[in-house]
């Protein structure tokens, strides 16, 4: 995020010179004076999209920071084993594993948010067929035999939005890969 950062004075303090989307999400989403639901006009999309925005931005932000750290790291001299794996473990091993679990879907969702397609559900539908393959590619270390969980997950997930359901599927896939640690 250093592109949006202006180094002033001593230069030890990051001072964002303009508000990036991530800054705005962190600063204002879910904050401010609340109007009671019964007087408010319910605008379809606000609640779901803002929740998605927070999760997506958070994970993209994390993703980019860890990628950046990996790229500039000069510590790791062993061929091939670099911080990429460490940070991957780091981001997956934390309590916020479910946040990092949506990274695969994040680019997709960011596009959706930036372009604001209300019709995006259809895209998600198309993607669903490919999803299992993607998961296999990404989780080459995963033990076989975890597919038995899938049906159960489908049933657990009675959330209204398909994109949220996809996200849940992805994060539960990630949870499985972390050794069935339920949460």
């Amino acid at each position: 995020m250093s592109s949006a950062v202006e180094q002033r004075r001593g230069g030890y303090l990051d001072r964002p010179s303009s508000s990036s989307l991530a800054d705005v999400v962190e600063l204002i989403l879910d904050k401010g004076l609340v109007i009671d639901a019964y007087i408010r006009v319910s605008i379809v999309g606000i609640e779901i999209l803002t929740i998605d925005a927070r999760i997506v931005i958070a994970s993209v932000d994390t993703y980019l920071r860890f990628a950046e750290a990996t790229n500039r790291l000069d510590l790791y001299e062993h061929g091939g084993k670099d911080l990429g794996e460490l940070t991957e473990s780091l981001s997956e091993g934390g309590a916020e594993g479910k946040t990092s679990g949506v990274i695969e879907g994040a680019k997709h969702k960011v596009d959706e948010l930036m372009h604001g397609d209300d019709e995006d559900d259809e895209d998600d539908e198309d993607d669903e067929d490919d999803e299992d393959n993607e998961e296999e590619d990404e989780e080459e270390d995963e033990e076989p035999g975890d597919d038995e969980d899938d049906e159960e997950e489908e049933e657990e997930d009675e959330r209204p939005s398909r994109s949220r359901r996809n996200r849940a599927r992805q994060s539960s896939a990630r949870r499985r890969s972390r050794g069935g640690d339920d949460e």
Binding site: R9, G10, Y12, L13, D14, R15, P16, S19, L21, D23, V24, E26, L27, I28, L29, K31, G32, L33, V34, I35, I39, R40, V41, I43, V44, G45, I46, E47, L49, T50, A53, A58, T62, A69, L73, L75, H78, G80, K81, L83, E85, L86, E88, S89, L90, S91, E92, G93, G94, A95, E96, T99, L113, M114, G116, D118, D141, E142, S177, G179
Partner: protein, 244 residues
């Protein structure tokens, strides 16, 4: 001229009556930006697009832009949570400005002349990870012997690192808090990422804003290079308008 259904009211925030509206690009919910006044209070109101839902990133940025423009002009403002849409300007007067008059007046008085800064503190990964590898042979050993094929070992390594960060976080957060120049009105948010140390909102007198910034710069220097401090603001008092 139009029915209330056609022209709904998106509320950006509440200010004192007679406030001057900021000059702003009237995009998204900021269309037909206007002041809806009642009983000495005023709501800054726009007309949300009728043909689509709100909730795009651009709408969120517009919300922030309008509120930020008010703050920049020195106007005390109580920012609304994103997505406050009412049926009509009449509903804004009745259900917000009138119904919550006393609460809003008190809220405005509380934030008058003050701005919010938001401080986030993270561990500088390189420095902290390096320190961990030096101080913790068990972690260093796992990393040194780490086998890309062995998922369990990678998981264990990550787990140890995250646990180590969890252990050092409280003391580091406390050290930063103790150094902050102005903590009279401070609100702590829960942090979630493993390398996040602190997330705090501080309400600061507008005249003291520059001094506060310099103070935080000193804190950043003191904790360099282990901790990375990031200061956003001055902004509207988003964290200080709730019931708290």
């Amino acid at each position: 001229m139009t029915t209330s259904v056609d022209r709904m009211s998106y509320v950006f925030g509440v200010v004192a009556a007679g406030t001057r509206l900021p000059e702003i690009d009237e995009a998204g919910p900021a269309a037909a930006l206007r002041l809806v006044e009642a009983a000495g209070l005023a709501a800054v109101v726009g007309t949300p697009p009728a043909h689509r839902s709100l909730g795009r990133a651009a709408d969120l940025l517009t919300h922030d832009r309008v509120v930020a423009a008010l703050v920049e002009a020195g106007t005390p403002v109580l920012p609304m949570r994103f997505g406050a849409v009412l049926q009509s300007d009449a509903a804004v007067i009745e259900d917000v400005l009138t119904a919550r008059h006393d609460e809003l007046r008190a809220g405005l008085a509380r934030v008058a002349g003050r701005v919010q800064f938001t401080l986030t503190v993270r561990y500088e990964q390189q420095v902290v990870l390096r320190g961990l590898l030096a101080a913790r042979p068990d972690i260093a050993r796992l990393r040194g012997s780490q086998d890309a094929e062995n998922f369990d070992q990678r998981l264990r390594l990550g787990e140890l690192v995250v646990q180590a960060l969890d252990e050092m976080r409280p003391a580091d957060a406390q050290a930063v808090l103790a150094d902050l120049p102005d903590t009279a009105d401070l609100l702590l948010h829960k942090t979630t990422a493993p390398d996040a140390v602190l997330h705090a909102a501080v309400l600061v007198e507008r005249q003291a804003a520059a001094a506060f910034e310099r103070g935080v710069e000193l804190v950043a220097r003191r904790h360099h290079p282990r901790l990375q401090l990031r200061l956003a603001g001055p902004s509207a008092p988003y964290d200080f308008v709730g019931a708290g």
